[in-house]
Symmetry: C2
Subunit: 351 residues, 2 copies
Amino acid sequence: MSDPTTPRLLRALSGETLDRPPIWFMRQAGRCLPEYRELRARAGDFISLAMNSEMAAEVTLQPMRRFAFDAAIVFADILLIPRALGQELWFEAGEGPRLGPLPAIEALRDQVQASTERLAPVGETIARVRAALEPERALIGFAGGPWTVATYMIEGRGSQREAARTFAYEHPEELDALLEVLVESTARYLVMQARAGAQALKIFESWAENLAEDVFERIVVRPHAAILEQVRAAGVTAPFIGFPRGAGALVEEYAEGTPVECVALDTQASAALGRRLQAQGKTIQGALDNLLLRAGGRALDARVEQLLNQWGEGAYVFNLGHGILQDTPIANIARVVERVTGQRVPQEFVA
Amino acid sequence: MSDPTTPRLLRALSGETLDRPPIWFMRQAGRCLPEYRELRARAGDFISLAMNSEMAAEVTLQPMRRFAFDAAIVFADILLIPRALGQELWFEAGEGPRLGPLPAIEALRDQVQASTERLAPVGETIARVRAALEPERALIGFAGGPWTVATYMIEGRGSQREAARTFAYEHPEELDALLEVLVESTARYLVMQARAGAQALKIFESWAENLAEDVFERIVVRPHAAILEQVRAAGVTAPFIGFPRGAGALVEEYAEGTPVECVALDTQASAALGRRLQAQGKTIQGALDNLLLRAGGRALDARVEQLLNQWGEGAYVFNLGHGILQDTPIANIARVVERVTGQRVPQEFVA
C-alpha cells in the first residue's frame, strides 16, 4: 500500500482500492464553465490559448477551484503535436480543427526533436499548475494516441475516419512510418510533461472505434506499447492511463498488449468487462455517460450509485466515458462530485 | 446434425459446424451492382422500389445470379415500419432518410395492426424470391431494431443519435412506450415475412453503439427478447440473427439476454469474443471490414484466411461487419466468395 499522503489518484493508479475512488472529469477544464468562456473570448483563437502558459494554467485550475476533483488535467490539445511537427493547424468556428496538407514523412521525421521544443509552453503550463495546486491533488499530462492524431493528419479534419481507415489498408507502410514518427514525438512530449510536473500521463486514443482486430493490434496496441517503452527508457515512472475509446471488446486485447497502469473505459463498458480488467491487475477509469451528466435527475443519481457499486471494490477512478458536453449544468457536476467525494460544494460554485 | 439437404445457412444457424461456412454479405442487394443502379434509375424513389414486389424481388435476386451466396436477404428498408405506422418518410438525394414529426404514441399504437397490412408488399417480395431461388439457398427476412428505428423516428433523420440518447434519459416512459409499439409492429412484420417464406429473420440494431450498460439492457436487449417471444408465440420457428452493431463488449450481455440463434458481430469483434459466444452455443456471423473488401489486395486475402481460421471450427456464417460500400469493386466480392465457397465465379459476372 502506498503512502496515504500520496494523492488519491496516484494511489488508485498504483492499484489500491480506496475508501472512495478519486474523481475527475474529462474536459473538466474549458467547455462548460462561464469563467472559461470569458477567458477564451479574451484569448482569441484556441491554439493561442493552449500555447499561452499563463492562460492555459488558469483554465486548468478553474474547475479545481469550484470542485473537489482529485486531479487536474493540463489544458492542451491532441493536435498540438502535428502542429509542432510542421503541419498547419487552425480551427474553423463551429466546425473544429483543420489541418493543412500532410508533410512528407522525412520532413516530419526531421522535426521530431524540434517538436518537443516547440511544445515547451505545455511544460510551462504544467509547472505553473503544479506550483499552484494543493499537494493532495494530482496533475495529469496527456497526448493523443498516434492513430487518432494520424487520422486528423491524413484527413485534414475530424470526420468519418473512413479515409484514414482505408489508408491503413492501402498504404500500410506509409501509415506505419507516420505512426513511428508520432510515437517518438509523443513519447518525448510525455517525458517533457512528466519532468515538468505531470504525475500521471494519459493517452487519448479517441478514435479506436470500428477497427478490425488485426488493424487495432497494429495501429493502436503496438504504438501505445512503444510509447510506454520509450517513456520508461527515459526514466519516467509516472503511471499511464490508456483510453482506447470505442474499442469495444478489443479493450481486453489492449489491456493485455500494453503495460498501462490504468485502462479508461468509455460509456458502453460493461460491469463485467471492468471487473475482468481489475482482476488482471489494471486500475480502471470511467464510464459515466456524458449525456446523462447533462440530463441529470434521478437517472444520474442511480447510475452514479451503480458505477460506485459495480467497480468500487477494486482499483477505480471515477470519471465520464467521454468528455463533458458544453451545455452541461454545473449543478449536475457539483452533485456527482459531492456524492463521490462526500464534500459539499459551496453554493457560490454551483451557479 | 440437421438434414444435409437443408440450406447451408440454416445448418449453421442451427449450431452446426460445417466443412465451410455459409457466406452472404450485408447490402449484397443494391448498392454496388450496375444492374441495380439501372433498375433503381427506372424505379424512381427508393421507397417505391422497396414497395414494388416485382422490382424488389429482382433486386434481391441480382447478386444471387452473380455469386454463389448461400443466402439472399429481402430488399427492403428498416424505415418501412415507421412509414407503415403513419410517420411520413422520404429520402433526400445524397442525404439519406427524412421523417416527419413523431406522431402521438396513441396514434402509433392504433396503427400496429394496419402497419402489418401496409407491409404486405414485402411479404409478396419474399414469396417471389423464394419461388425463384434454388432450394439450397436460404432467404432471410429482416427488420430494424426498435431502438434504431426509434432514433430515426425521434430525430427525424440519421444523425448523431445524441437527441435520441438524451430522450432515453429525459423521457424514459415515452421511449419505453414507443419501443413497445415498435416491438409489436416488428414482431408482426417478422411473422408475416416468415409465413411468406423467409427462413431466417435478422434484427438490424444498427445504432447499438455508445449506450451505457443499463440503457443498453433496457432499450436493446429487452425489446429484442420481447420480439422473439412474440414471434415464437405466433408459432414461427425460423432462427434469428441479432445484430447489435457497435455494442462492443455489451455483445456478451446481448447474447445472454436474448435467445437469438446467431449473433452478428461487427468489424471490431475480437477472435476471443466470437469464440466465447460459440462456446455458449451461439452461431456467430461476421466480421470482415467493409473498407477492406473495398480496398482489396493481399490484406483482404490475409484477413479472410484469418477469419476462416479463427471462427471456422465452430458454428459460423461468413459475412461483413457492416454493409457493402457502394464503390466496392465487384472483383473483390467475387474473390472472397470464391475463396469461401470454393466455387469459381464465371468471368462475365465479375465485370
